[in-house]
Amino acid sequence: MLSQLIQTFLVATVSAWLGVMAGRLLIQEGSGILGAWRLMRGNRLRLGVIFFLLNIALMGLDHVLDPAKAWMVRSLTNPLSWTLTEATLRHVVDFPFGILWILTWSVTIGIVLDALEGAPAQSGKTATPLPA
């Protein structure tokens, strides 16, 4: 359990750093990786904690939904070995969760970059800022 938590934190921290680099590159085409690293100065551990918490929340949600997803697939097909039909159904059932995971990460990267650079979020699309 402890090793799992340490592993999740380590992976979330490195993912956060690399995610900020990738996100900055996508927003400001041609921006350097070193610039993104400098941008995270003083917030590197915080970024790890943010993505660790998001990981825990999403993994928890996945854990809660897992029996329902497995039941849905098994109610339609229940082969003894891997089949293309079963795999396709599994991926179809898992698709909304896959989108949720990708969206949550990219939105968090956008919000982090907004907070660090003050660049994005001009329109009324962002959520109401919380008091600092």
């Binding site: 490195v14 927003i27 699309k125």
Partner: protein, 158 residues
């Protein structure tokens, strides 16, 4: 998202819970639009995973043992490279949408799928971002492997 005002002007400190809650609220408030924006790259990502599973589990499987690794899902380290471009593409569309940059970029204009408002774009920047995300997936797989090796070593010492 406002940085803390009492910090030095050069150093903005993130508020951990504020960022997490703002991200979740933003996702909930803009779920429909974000879903449409990211749908096609996410579909391609799921299709890539399915294709890799098929290559591994089909009978007879001709996936070389060298490529198989149970620290990834599907169990091959190729999944890091197969899915990264589509994830980077989805990120690009979402981030552009958040920043109001060229909102219509990547829209497929072919008449047959125009109404579905699907988006597709692969360029040098997205591929560079994909390389970073693939490195991240490889690192996650490596950490899982190291963790497993340590557990085996500890268990076998008893």
């Amino acid at each position: 998202m406002e940085p803390a005002r009492h910090d030095s002007p050069k150093l903005r400190r993130l508020r951990v819970f504020n960022v997490v809650i703002t991200a979740l609220v933003y996702c909930a408030q803009n779920a429909g639009r974000l879903f449409v924006v990211a749908f096609f790259p996410c579909f391609l990502e799921a299709a890539s995973r399915l294709a890799l599973e098929w290559l591994i589990y089909r009978d007879p499987s001709d996936m070389p043992a060298l490529l198989v690794s149970h620290d990834f899902n599907p169990p091959t380290w190729l999944s890091a490279f197969a899915t990264a471009p589509w994830i980077a593409m989805a990120w690009a569309f979402v981030l552009r949408d958040m920043t109001d940059q060229d909102t219509y970029r990547g829209l497929i204009t072919a008449r047959i799928v125009r109404r579905a408002r699907l988006r597709f774009e692969l360029n040098r920047t997205i591929l560079l971002a994909a390389a970073i995300l693939a490195a991240d997936s490889l690192f996650a797989g490596l950490i899982k492997r190291v963790d497993r090796e340590i557990l085996y070593a500890v268990a076998s010492s008893y």
